[in-house]
Amino acid sequence: MMPDAAPLTVTDIAARIADGASIALPPDYSGCAMTVVAALIRRHARNLQLIGVPSLGLQADWLVGAGCVAILESAALTLGEPGMPPRAIAAVKAGDIEMRDATCPAIHAGLQAAEKGIPFMPLRGILGSDLLKVRPDWQVIDNPLSTMRDPIVIIPAIRPDVALFHARHADRNGNVWIGVRRELMLMAHAARETYVTVEDIVDTDFLRDEDRAGSTIPALYISGIAKAARGGDPVGLAGAYPADHTVLADYVRAAQTQAGFDDWMAARVLETVPA
């Protein structure tokens, strides 16, 4: 984003994410752009591939329930204490979508390979897991630097089309401050395009402030920013406001059936005014 580039709207961001795109998403506790997720549902996005970094929760459940998703890649499907995401679990069980099971460090490692522009990353562990049977793209090689037999797993680079998340602040130059949530930095480095919603846009330059600069994603990696106050509701935004456990519990109850999901989303999300 060039300095002074006009901020986008939430609807603009949803329009720029193409059908069929692979989208890296943070877990529910790390800053979720829920308003863009709702806008993707409003524009009837289709065949999305969601990549959990490293797990998926409410964002995936909304998008799966609304028929926007073809593939989930994730180390877990979870809403945390409220339980499992009901529509995503039902779709995986029914075979309506493809589930690519993973394990947390493999997703991080795949993104790190993309960040470095290299084809794969070796990773310890995983040997003996049935993951190696269901993930033919993960391979075992013999450590070429060892004089003894040393099998080690290699994970192919994960290069998402889009990274999408919600953060506290952007500055006037389009730099995004993420605090301690550095998995968001990794996502932005690895993805082709990064779209961010923020609580507010501050008239300053985070890169000139040493206390801020180290936890700021430079505008170099950012394709567009939209302002969305309370944009993390209802999963919350770390450091700003908590998850609304009453709403989440209510959602989990309603979304046990597709009809319950449709009604809840219509009343609670889709009929609210888009930004």
Binding site: S55, A106, L127, D130, L184, A238, H245
Partner: protein, 245 residues
Amino acid sequence: MRPAAALSTPEIMIGTIAPMLAGLRHVAVGASSPIPGSAALLARALSGGRLRVSLLGSEQHNPFTDGGRELFDCAAQGRVDAFFLSGGQIDGAGNINLVSLGDYKSPKVRFPGNFGSSYLYHLIPRVILFREEHSPRTLVSKVDFVSAAGSSPEGEFRPGGPHALVTGLCAFAYDRRRGAFQLASVHPGVSPADVRAATGFDYSTPTDVPVTAALPADELALLRTRVAAEIAETYPAFAKAQWGV
């Protein structure tokens, strides 16, 4: 607050796990782990500040500054002494299943997924398995999907693995050489025969099986006050149900 005599099953499990962490430097706690999280925070409170606890999902009890990958990098370097895993199924060889029941492609039951288990089980020296429901459907002879294997072939890099399995009925110790469990203690009111009847896998039983040691009164008080308040940040529903905080 409950009278001290009436411990809940989670409190007994917390009291079983916490002593397994004594003397360690760094214990990490993963997702969906309120019982181990409480045990780790209790062990920390008793350590006089020597034990470091990293609680996933917590803002207050989390020392990491390099994103989601840092725990895993830390573990591969040997900087994490203990961790906790559970499973929809756990088998007698210490294999755990966090993925599904039945055929993988068309599962009868789908669980959340592997999380970091497939990796951390290999790398963290003392992995404590926990599962409150102790029944033939959770403790099985062979898991339907191996999220993480209990043991590895000779010659594979494997510094980590299972240390114990703590359930609502008992504690098992894991014998890494044999790749099998041994009954270590039964919780108050439970007999070794009860455990045998409720367990779907084979394990060994010593001649004398002790009753799980009860938490001393001062430690139980600490659990129900300081630790309850600390765990409530990350597991509010658990803390409310257990201790009304």
